[in-house]
């Protein structure tokens, strides 16, 4: 029982990280109908920016952790946004209106470029970091197992919840969110209403990148090590989460992220840790075959 609860806590934490990345996949898919294959690498870049800015703040002698984390959060969101924006400008916009596979190929090129760029700039070896947020709460105790909820886990889940609430509100209730939904549904009509479609698409990439960078920051703080390749696995899993939840659906991305995090954690806890990545990929294949619209995907019922 204690072991189970501990895995549940770990799974929800991991799921939060996947959910944050998955939102970027789903939003970009919603608006341009294509997968952003460089999204996982923007997550990786976000993690590196967080790590570097933490080290810089540390060397400047900033020891008040909450302030340091807030600064790191803002810096990595801002800088990663520039990467997200650039990915759209370089890999997608010039090829809009070209055949469908063209932007996918250029995005994969972008992904490889980003990986190599970080590999050269930061080295190929894993980068460790000292734990920043320490301690936790003991939730349950038995003679041979102690269930802890670390402060880092609380921080991850709360940040994720706050960001998801904020973004859901933005999409549902603000003018920008309505413009994004309008572009999703009918880009030409959106422009006929005076919406700058190019700008709206750019903003969507930027928002996805900002969320992914938060995930990257949480990842580096939680696991303490990163390398230039983390974007690939995390990206594929978050993509699986987005597909499982129903690509194009925001709540779907959150739910999918949570489920993938839980499945992966329980799989490694009760079966074998070696095959934990296989679990995520198997789900991707099964969902694509049996449930292509995902759990919360939009059924196409409207008459127009």
């Amino acid at each position: 029982m204690e072991y189970f609860v501990q895995q549940l806590i770990n799974g929800v934490t991991l799921g939060s990280i996947y959910g944050l990345i998955a939102i970027g996949y789903t939003m970009v898919y919603g608006i341009i109908g294509m997968i952003n294959f460089a999204h996982g690498d923007v997550f990786m870049i976000g993690a590196f920016i967080a790590l570097i800015s933490l080290l810089i703040l540390g060397s400047l002698g900033l020891t008040f952790i909450p302030l340091a984390l807030l600064i790191v959060l803002i810096v990595s969101m801002l800088l990663s946004s520039v990467y997200g924006w650039t990915v759209e400008r370089v890999a997608y916009r010039p090829l809009r209106g070209s055949f469908r596979l063209a932007p996918l190929i250029s995005a994969i090129g972008m992904s490889i470029f980003l990986q190599n760029y970080v590999q050269i700039a930061q080295g190929a070896r894993v980068k460790p970091i000292q734990p920043v947020v320490n301690g936790g709460i003991v939730v349950m105790e038995s003679p041979n197992f102690v269930v802890t909820l670390s402060y880092m886990q609380i921080l991850i889940v709360l940040t994720t919840l706050a960001l998801m609430a904020g973004f859901s509100y933005l999409i549902a209730k603000t003018a920008l969110g309505r413009q994004q939904r309008a572009c999703e549904q009918d880009r030409r009509m959106a422009s006929l209403l005076g919406i700058n479609v190019d700008r709206t698409i750019s903003l969507t990439f930027v928002m996805g990148a900002a969320l992914a960078s938060v995930a990257g920051m949480m990842f580096v703080l939680y696991y303490g090590v990163i390398d230039f390749f983390i974007g690939f696995l995390a990206g594929v899993k978050a993509f699986t989460a987005a597909v499982l939840g129903g690509i194009g659906s925001m709540p779907g991305a959150m739910l999918g992220g949570l489920l993938i995090g839980l499945i992966e954690t329980f799989w490694s806890a009760y079966f074998t840790i070696e095959y934990k990545d296989v679990a995520a990929f198997s789900i991707l294949v099964l969902v694509l075959i049996f449930l292509p619209t995902g759990l919360l995907g939009k059924p196409e019922i409207e008459k127009v």
Partner: protein, 239 residues
Amino acid sequence: MSALLEIAGVETFYGNIQALRGVDVSVEKGEIVTLIGANGAGKSTLLMTLCGSPQARSGQITFDGVDITRKPTFEIIRMGIAQSPEGRRIFARMTVMENLMMGGTTADPAHFDADLEKVFTLFPRLKERQGQRGGTLSGGEQQMLAIGRALMSRPRLLLLDEPSLGLAPLVVKQIFEAIKQINQEEGMSILLVEQNAFHALRLADRGYVLVNGAITLAGTGRELLARPEVRAAYLEGGH
């Protein structure tokens, strides 16, 4: 003083297919101008070309003295043009209210309530349906919504593409009355594309006949109604 809208020698292509062959059309302030023509004549293409999507390959389009031929669509719209396009293009997954809010994208938010009230007075049906999703409205309701959405931006020039298409005669009458009312009360200039030539020509100050991408006839609504070739091609059998 030049006209509010001046289209001169406009040619538009889809790939190699030429859809407009040197079209000249003008709309003065406060006028209702109608464009009639058979299926595939290029009427919708003309309305879309003047919104910059697709752009004209040659010729010039001037709105309020400004050359808009090469401007991107959203900038043209922001100058004060609104279109209720062919096929209505309602946002199906948005509510009626959200669709109307989208219509007000370029408008001053301070006008929103007043403009909404005006649209609801014109089409009381929309008020009853404001929380319903656009995709579930009836065809006539969608048409009202498309026109209402276009009005929400307070355009100086309103483009209507076949607002009567597929509607029952009673609804058509309502829509045409609404168009007249908008024009008289607001002094809004209107360019109306119609298959329903009889109604359109009776309503309009002036009209143009478009055949195969070129204007073949122009004149006041009354003049065109009396022309035998117009009667033969566009009025026989139908009103």
